[in-house]
């Protein structure tokens, strides 16, 4: 599904969403109120400049006090890999964007991620993974690193990794594996109206961070929840 199709499915009364240099900002009337939209389109890498444009839009929404939902649409590359970005503090800029989204969530704006294309590494963490709930459309392709690069770093043959990827969700790229890890909460049905599905997600938002519980239930992260609970239990003694 393309961004234009997604926006058409969400905003039957029109919208003000624009895409400039792969950066998405704007909003539209939704369910008797409105929805803010920010994001990355067209497999665009996220660098210092883009991160600050998106964080500006998120902080403006918080400043407005409208408490309207913020939809984070994502079809990005990884973080932009360059000497200039690191020189200027890419870690601060990506973290700032994530903080803006987490602040919005704490300030009464439901934050919903919608991944409909690619995303990877730092760009994925600073956008989609910084929302309260992350939905995906079939065909989305989130990853940490592609298998050829994993092969290079781990010094394992690519064909062996491809074989392992079939049975081991914990390291392999792709939507199914991110769902299994609990990172992606839900996969939407492209055959049903999108606006109703997003409206239902907003209506059923849960407090707290339930990603480790989902990862345990789905088998992609079998031990994380139990480990975190054990640390909390030991910390509570004495």
């Amino acid at each position: 599904m393309t961004l234009a199709e997604i926006l058409a499915g969400l905003f039957s009364q029109g919208h003000s969403v624009i895409v400039r240099d792969g950066l998405v900002t704007g909003g539209g009337p939704f369910a008797g109120g409105k929805v803010h939209v920010v994001g990355v389109d067209g497999d665009t890498p996220l660098g210092v400049d883009g991160a600050l444009i998106l964080s500006r839009a998120v902080l403006d929404a918080v400043r407005s006090g409208d408490k309207a939902p913020i939809l984070v649409v994502v079809d990005s590359d990884s973080q932009r890999m360059s000497r200039r970005d690191e020189l200027l503090g890419l870690n601060e800029c990506l973290a700032h964007l994530a903080k803006a989204l987490l602040l919005a969530d704490r300030s009464g704006h439901p934050t919903i991620g919608l991944i409909y294309g690619h995303s990877a590494a730092g760009a994925f963490i600073a956008t989609a993974l910084a929302t309260r709930i992350l939905a995906a459309l079939p065909g989305a392709n989130p990853s940490v690193m592609d298998l050829p690069s994993v092969a290079k770093v781990t010094k394992l043959p690519l064909d062996k990794l491809q074989e392992m990827a079939k049975s081991t969700p914990v390291f392999a790229p792709g939507l199914d594996n991110m769902v299994a890890a609990g990172a992606v909460h839900v996969v939407l049905d492209p055959g049903k109206p999108l606006d109703g599905q997003i409206r239902d997600l907003i209506a059923n938002l849960q407090p707290g961070d339930d990603r480790d519980r989902l990862g345990e239930e789905r088998g992609g992260r079998p031990v994380a929840r139990g480990i975190a609970e054990a640390v909390i239990a030991q910390a509570g003694r004495g």
Binding site: D49, L52, S55, L59, R63, M81, S82, R83, R84, E86, L87, L88, G89, L90, N91, E92, L94, A95, A98, K99, A100, L102, L103, R106, A121, G122, F124, I125, L129, V144, M145, S149, V150, K152, T154, L156, M164, P169, V170, F171, P173, M178, A181, G182, A183, D209, D212, G215, G220, R221, V223, A224, R225, I227, A228, V231, I232, Q234, A235, G236
Partner: protein, 309 residues
């Protein structure tokens, strides 16, 4: 274990860069005060590394627990850069997430994170990536509850990838000369964009671009430490006392600070050009400066100190 040796190690003499994670924690804390959660005796080991025929660690490369710092209770996490580059695996990440969640009810004086990490452990990539996202949300919750989260960065693995993003969420950061903070590592940039973009073998370039002195000068870190445990202890105590609030005003100030940085320095090719524009008289001399000379230089740079984090 290393902790037994560390207990008798002099914090003034112990190199942060050379020390193990457990040595750092034990020497950083008030003597005898460190109490570890899920210690190595519990053998909570990665269920995934055997698939890759890789050795495991009894603590999965991170030490978490409770300690006293100047008599006050703090929670501490320390990554072990010598095991899998300190990278975030499933258990490693979950121990940090659990510690931060525990802080919400225990209300310690601070949470200290001793970073030493290359980022996500690729053999457990999805678990590591998700744990980093959980960690960032948990730090925001802890900060919003009024508890400072202080990052200490000076280990041999640096603070890369998702570790760099987590560092950017913390209330305050202390860094030493050996600490490097970055998202993409030098080798990653070179592999993807070529040696013309970044020559990872040019170590001076790596330190200038990602190292502790550059981060301190541009305001990416709040304290610069000599490479000793006692220097990091002193910095932690100082930073706990002046942690910024987590609210809209802080983030608006950070937005302005980062926009201003890009407007002023966005056309610079090298860190030395940025340092010159910051008003450093002899930018070429910065890498060789000792801690005292560097502190004097920092004191004249307006951008270095702020509450916009």
């Amino acid at each position: 274990m290393a902790g037994a040796h560390a207990a008798s190690t002099d914090p003034d003499a112990l190199s942060w860069y050379e020390a193990t994670a457990r040595q750092r924690v034990v020497a950083l804390a008030d003597p005898g005060s460190f109490e570890e959660f899920l210690p190595p005796t519990e053998r909570r080991m990665s269920p995934h590394l055997p698939l890759f025929d890789l050795p495991r660690a009894f603590d999965d490369g991170i030490v978490v627990g409770r300690a006293k710092l100047d008599g006050k209770t703090v929670l501490v996490a320390a990554q072990e850069g010598r095991f899998m580059g300190g990278a975030f695996g499933e258990i490693h990440g979950a121990k940090l997430v659990g510690l931060l969640r525990a802080a919400l009810t225990l209300k310690p004086a601070a949470v200290l994170i001793l970073f030493d990490t290359g980022g996500v452990r690729l053999q457990e990539a999805n678990a590591g990536e998700t744990a980093i996202a959980e960690t960032m949300r948990a730090i925001v919750d802890v900060r919003a509850a009024g508890i400072p989260v202080i990052g200490l960065i000076g280990g041999r693995a640096g603070c890369y990838g998702g570790g760099g993003l987590i560092a950017g969420i913390c209330s305050r950061l202390a860094v030493s000369e050996g600490g490097r903070i970055s998202v993409s590592g030098p080798e990653v940039i070179e592999t993807n964009k070529g040696a013309e973009e970044f020559d990872s073998r040019d170590r001076a370039l790596v330190w200038r671009t990602m190292g502790g002195k550059h981060r301190r000068l541009i305001g990416g870190a709040d304290a610069f430490c000599a490479d000793t445990v006692s220097a990091f202890r002193q910095a932690a105590l100082d930073l706990i006392g002046r942690a910024p609030a987590f609210d809209l005003d802080t983030l608006e100030a950070e937005q302005a600070r980062l926009e201003s940085r890009i407007a002023r320095f966005g056309d610079c090719r090298d860190a030395t050009e940025i340092w010159a524009r910051l008003g450093v008289n002899d930018p070429e001399s910065v890498p060789a400066m000792d801690t005292r000379a560097f502190d004097e230089t920092v004191s004249r740079v307006r951008e270095a100190d702020h509450d916009a984090r």
